[in-house]
């Protein structure tokens, strides 16, 4: 069981999915406060056609080019969602639902075509749906690691800019922060985080790595900085633990295990979290009830 950990390739894969989880946890924190968690899911699904088209054009599986294809496809999806919700009477949630399913359906259709070709059948493109970290070769790992570290760096150096951008964008604009620039940068880091994770975690479940850790982190703190760090830690933990669990079986997909670990952390946070966790809330309620009971008793004497 532990022997897989000693394999150096596995170590690299585990390390890279941890960094991916950290990046996703941080970006997820931003999506949480922009109230756009679901957008990341729509963009992840919208990335699939781009992956397959890049493969069909290139004829081989090179993660870097597949990622570029995925990013273009996801950005087209993002643009459609924005265009539909701004220029038509259709609301944003419907637009996201439509783009998500249409792009994904289109991607699956392309995948069927790609799988008919000899190279496609061998390529393991199906793995992009639920993800399989174990199929990553060293160059894939480097690509993912490099981009994930870049995302983390961008969040880190602009911490106070991100904070004011999320809390009060109009005031930030008054101070001279370019909202257009921040929106572009936000979309860029969001899409980057999504597409670098699709081989390891898969297009269907990568969004969970963005959505769940930030929701868990919310239960532990009242500070944006701490929330960002906690979300990064929980994302990293989900990434590495989920990947490790999936290597225990032959051909087990990575995505579902990553989600299960993230979900377990969320349930722990939901119950034991010190900020409005269910257990703490219950304790406070009990204490308050005791206090008012005590007051009633002593109050009777004081009168």
């Amino acid at each position: 069981m532990w022997s897989t950990l000693l394999n150096s390739n596995t170590q690299w894969v585990l390390f890279s999915t941890m960094i991916l989880g950290i990046a996703a946890g941080m970006i997820g924190c931003m999506a949480y406060w922009k109230r756009q968690s679901l957008l990341s899911d729509a963009l992840a699904h919208a990335a699939l056609p781009g992956v397959i088209i890049a493969f069909l054009i290139l004829g081989e599986k090179n993660l870097f080019f597949l990622i570029i294809g995925a990013a273009i496809s996801a950005l087209i999806g993002a643009w459609f969602i924005q265009w539909i919700s701004e220029s038509t009477r259709i609301a944003e949630d419907s637009a996201m639902g439509m783009i998500l399913s249409i792009f994904y359906g289109f991607g699956i259709m392309l995948l069927t075509i790609a799988n008919r070709t000899a190279a496609g059948n061998q390529s393991g493109l199906d793995k992009f749906i639920f993800g399989q970290a174990a199929t990553m070769i060293r160059s894939d790992v480097y690509t993912m690691l490099g981009l994930a570290l870049l995302v983390i760096f961008i969040v880190f150096i602009g911490f106070k800019e991100w904070k004011i951008y999320l809390f009060d964008p109009e005031f930030a604009k008054g101070l001279g922060l370019s909202l257009k620039g921040m929106n572009v940068l936000y979309t860029a880091v969001l899409v980057t985080t999504i597409v670098i994770g699709i081989q390891a975690v898969g297009v269907i479940l990568i969004a969970a790595l963005l959505i769940i850790p930030s929701a868990s982190a919310r239960y532990w703190t009242h500070s944006f900085k701490v929330m960002l760090i906690l979300s990064a830690v929980m994302g990293g933990l989900s990434g590495v633990a989920g990947t490790w669990l999936s290597t225990l079986g032959n051909g087990w997909p990575t995505g579902p295990f990553v989600v299960l670990v993230a979900a377990a952390l969320f349930i722990l946070s939901l119950i034991f979290g010190k900020e409005k966790g269910l257990f703490i809330n219950y304790l406070y309620l009990k204490m308050d009830a005791q206090k008012s009971n005590a007051r009633l008793e002593t109050g009777g004497m004081a009168k």
Binding site: F167, E170, L175
Partner: protein
């Protein structure tokens, strides 16, 4: 700074969701004045401020701050948005929100220093909020949140301030604290434009009034402009004077 034109607006118009909400807006503001922007709901008061500060697109007209463009004068302009414009559940404390007013001075991508922190603390103290510096913003009352916003504007050390309903839904104590701060700003030669909705206090609070209902009904010193006739013109005759109190009441029925 005083008596100099700090803001000049010419022929401004703006629309909101395909409706023209502001048209032919024209006025000049001289330095060292405290101006109340008064008008009924939907008169375009917030839109006016947002259009001036380029947060909302303008259809026509020109706006000059200190004889130059908004972009060049940005550092001299402070803005207090409506309290409801942000999510108060955001995980941060009062001091941190005030610090945000200093981000322009700190410089982008740089970390705030101890000097900046002291400045933010002083601003909180001025608004009587020093005890709440570490308090979660979600745990502050509406009046306290408004004071934090005011403190954030104060640290900007601007010459011209725009405030969107800073007195809406605050307690009497906060209202006094805010008005005292505004008068202090005016005494120091600063100019403050305040969106205001309580007609009963206009005469006590502001030396100039801008009556607005889609366009400028009248603008000038309060004593001259804030007349019964002008007010009913602004509110479309929905205003009744209560004789016994000699105060006016606005009926919201359209």
């Amino acid at each position: 700074m005083e008596d100099e034109v700090v803001l000049s607006v010419e022929n401004l118009s703006a629309s909101y969701r395909k409706n023209i909400v502001l048209h032919d807006i024209q006025f000049n503001v001289r330095g060292g004045t405290l101006i109340g922007i008064v008008g009924p709901n939907g008169a375009g008061k917030s839109t006016l401020i947002k259009t001036l500060l380029e947060m909302h697109p303008r259809l026509t007209g020109s706006v000059q701050f200190f004889g130059t463009s908004f972009k060049k004068a940005k550092k001299k302009i402070g803005y207090v948005p409506q309290r409801g414009s942000v999510d108060w559940d955001f995980p941060t404390n009062a001091l941190d929100v005030v610090m945000m007013g200093l981000y322009g001075q700190i410089g982008w991508l740089k970390r705030p220093s101890r000097k900046h922190k002291r400045k933010a603390c002083e601003a909180l103290e001025k608004m009587g909020m020093e005890a709440y510096a570490d308090r979660q913003i979600s745990q502050l009352s509406g009046g306290q949140q408004q004071r934090v916003f005011l403190a954030r504007a104060l640290v900007q050390e601007a010459d011209l301030y725009f405030m969107d309903e800073p007195l809406a839904g605050v307690d009497a104590q906060t209202e006094r604290a805010i008005m005292q701060t505004l008068k202090e700003l005016k005494t120091n030669g600063k100019t403050v434009l305040v969106v205001h909705h309580d007609l009963q206090t206009v005469e006590d609070y502001f030396d100039h009034v801008l009556l607005l209902n889609r366009t400028v009904i009248d603008y000038g010193p309060t004593a001259r402009v804030f007349t019964k006739e002008n007010i009913s013109k602004t509110y479309g005759g929905q205003l009744r004077w209560m004789k016994e109190e000699s105060r006016h009441v606005v009926h919201s029925v359209e």
